[in-house]
């Protein structure tokens, strides 16, 4: 079953085409990697999918509804969660509050409910507190719930971003370089975490990553971008042999045989 259908997506900044004619079909439950050299347009694609950028052309249909032109908060509530390449946490808040924040978009109580101390709001607050603790435990931050997000270590911040994205109850999770800045041990733990949360939360995952071991070991399918154009799609093994991909990454033949 198709969850996300992207057709002919194009983003132009003035004369520069950051992404040209991008097509993608994601089925429910898939784990797909989006790779390519720096500046290939991967993050731009994510920004279009999450509503941060309005595509110049093309259509994006998610779970039956057209998400082109919708606001980031609306797209998030439809079920697309994301993490950022440059971490965007609420640095002055505790890890717990960061995760609790992700439940706010679905809060049913109006703003005057907490002012009057209505029981409906208290119930919701308790529920989000409990679920936030659970999520933090899942990503391995159980002992750091009260720590200010800004003072967590880099790898912990990345995992907190994942917990926060999960808190919005996404159907599709977009991870932008989740392993950046992690050591091999942390990277392995992250691979495991992604597989576990995909199973337990019934997720479809699309991720951007430069760590080839990570991508090849984790993803079932890869899409390769170069200069905004899709140059290859397929199984990891096929992509590794693909001439165009090797050229894009390593340049012409001379350097290919290093």
């Amino acid at each position: 079953m198709s969850l996300l259908k992207v057709k002919c997506l194009t983003m132009r900044f003035g004369g520069l085409s950051a992404v040209t004619d991008f097509n993608l079909n994601l089925d429910k439950g898939e784990l797909v990697g989006l790779i390519g050299p720096n500046g290939a347009g991967k993050t731009t694609t994510f920004n279009m999918l999450t509503g941060r950028l309005k595509p110049t052309e093309g259509s994006m249909v998610f779970g039956g509804s057209d998400i082109g032109g919708k606001k980031p908060s609306q797209i998030n509530r439809l079920g697309i969660g994301r993490t950022f390449q440059s971490i965007h946490l609420l640095t002055e808040m505790s890890a717990l509050e960061n995760v609790m924040m992700s439940f706010h978009g679905r809060l049913k109580s109006p703003f005057w409910a907490p002012i009057l101390g209505l029981p409906g709001y208290r119930r919701e607050e308790r529920a989000m507190l409990k679920e936030s603790y659970d999520l933090l435990e899942r990503v391995g931050l159980k002992d750091l719930t009260q720590t200010e997000a800004g003072s967590l270590a880099y790898g912990q911040q990345r995992r907190l971003e994942i917990a926060r994205a999960l808190g919005t109850h996404p159907k599709l999770l977009l991870l932008d370089e989740p392993a950046a800045g992690m050591n091999p041990r942390e990277t392995n733990a992250l691979m495991e975490l992604i597989l576990v949360i995909r199973r337990d939360f019934d997720l479809t995952v699309l991720l951007i990553e430069h760590d080839m071991k990570f991508v090849m070991g984790l993803c079932e399918r890869l899409v390769v971008l170069d200069n905004g154009a899709t140059i290859a799609q397929g199984l990891p093994a096929e992509i590794q042999q693909n001439k165009k991909v090797i050229t894009a990454y390593l340049g012409e033949r001379r350097s290919a045989g290093r």
Binding site: T50, R52, K71, P72, S73, Q74, N76, R77, R82, F84, H88, L89, L90, T91, E92, M93, E97, M100, M101, S102, F103, H104, G105, R106, L107, F111, P114, I115, G117, Y121, E124, E125, M128, R164, G167, T168
Partner: protein
């Protein structure tokens, strides 16, 4: 007893103590002291509600003088009797429905707040399309527009002549009652999930949006709510000083509030309260510097009106240089903090 229930009881007790002080002031304090206490309460209301949008939500806006004016004019026009209005509107008579309406104080105050909130709500739509410096300039313009309209809408506001003979309904119970309600409402809101969302918007709007928080709607909420309380404070202010004119609601009013919330710490409710008290009280104490002064019989300085503002500006500069976060930063005063301090002192002995 858990710390939470302890803190709650301590808060109740301090409110009771405050009411006791007010009762004593009502009985024994002279008119001048009562007036200062009233001004302190009104400044607390204004500062705490202004802080909601400027400090907590981090949207630097410069319009509270507009909302105070809206509340003050609305409530005053509603409480003045028909004959009083006929007497003061000497250039243009007051337009029809307003000229005959005269209602009690409480509904007039609430309607004053609602009118300010309504304008705040409408204004929020264009205003929150911009951020940062642009937001400041747009809201500053709005504040000026309201003042200029008040100056020229002769048949509604009586123009530059202003409104006179407003009944002095505002007493300590009204002013401190509103201050306590404002504190209660805004404190509860800030501590709730909505308050966290407002802080999230201040810290990182992009992250907030990507977590499904509609930043625009939350800014509008904070803005409208602060307009509501500022409007009611304006209504009380009008019925305290009994004479209002457009000159009262210039940018200086906003500037004073900005000094208060900056010195108190942007985003800190208790900081705003402390700074409001210090400001309202301090500006009375500093009246001395505007009087002619005689230093040791050698030198005579004539009274310079406006010297107080110079001193406040110097204080603001010093605070910005040495404590950029203000008294409290973004922290709040908590009972726990007080206990910790006492504990440290005990164990230190």
């Amino acid at each position: 007893m858990t710390p939470k229930t302890r803190d709650r009881w301590l808060t109740y007790l301090s409110v009771l103590a405050l009411l006791g002080i007010l009762l004593l002031a009502q009985e024994y304090a002279d008119e001048y002291q009562v007036r200062i206490l009233n001004m302190v309460a009104i400044y607390i209301t204004l500062a705490v509600s202004y802080n909601l949008i400027n400090g907590v939500t981090g949207q630097f806006s410069l319009e509270p003088n507009a909302f105070v004016a809206l509340g003050a004019y609305t409530a005053s026009l509603l409480t003045l009797t028909a004959s009083e209005k006929e007497m003061s509107f000497i250039i243009d008579p007051c337009i029809w429905p307003l000229s005959v309406i005269s209602i009690p104080f409480l509904p007039a105050v609430i309607i004053g707040g609602l009118i300010a909130a309504f304008f705040g709500f409408l204004m929020g739509f264009p205003v929150f399309r911009v951020r940062g410096d642009y937001l400041a300039i747009v809201t500053l313009g709005f504040g000026e527009v309201i003042r200029v309209v008040a100056n020229n809408l002769q048949s509604v506001t009586n123009g530059p002549l202003g409104l006179k003979g407003i009944a002095p309904y505002t007493n300590l119970w009204w002013s401190w009652g509103l201050a306590l309600i404002t504190l209660f409402v805004i404190n509860r809101l800030v501590k709730s999930s909505y308050g966290r969302a407002l802080k999230a918007i201040r810290q990182n709007e992009l992250a907030a949006e990507s977590m499904g928080i509609n930043a625009f709607r939350h800014k509008l909420l904070a803005f409208t709510l602060s307009a509501f309380f500022e409007g009611m404070a304006g209504a009380l202010l009008a019925h305290l000083i009994t004479t209002i004119s457009p000159m009262l609601f210039t940018f200086f009013l906003t500037f004073n509030l900005l000094i208060i919330i900056t010195i108190g710490g942007l985003g800190s409710i208790t900081g705003s309260v402390l700074a409001a008290i210090a400001f309202a009280w301090g500006s009375e104490l500093l009246r001395a510097v505007e009087e002619p002064m005689n230093i040791l019989g050698l030198l005579t300085i004539p009274g310079i009106p406006g010297m107080r503002m110079v001193i406040f500006s110097i204080i603001l500069i010093v605070v910005m240089l040495f404590a950029r976060q203000g008294f409290m930063g973004r922290r709040e005063f908590t009972w726990q903090w007080l206990f910790d301090r006492m504990h440290i002192k005990e164990s230190g002995l």
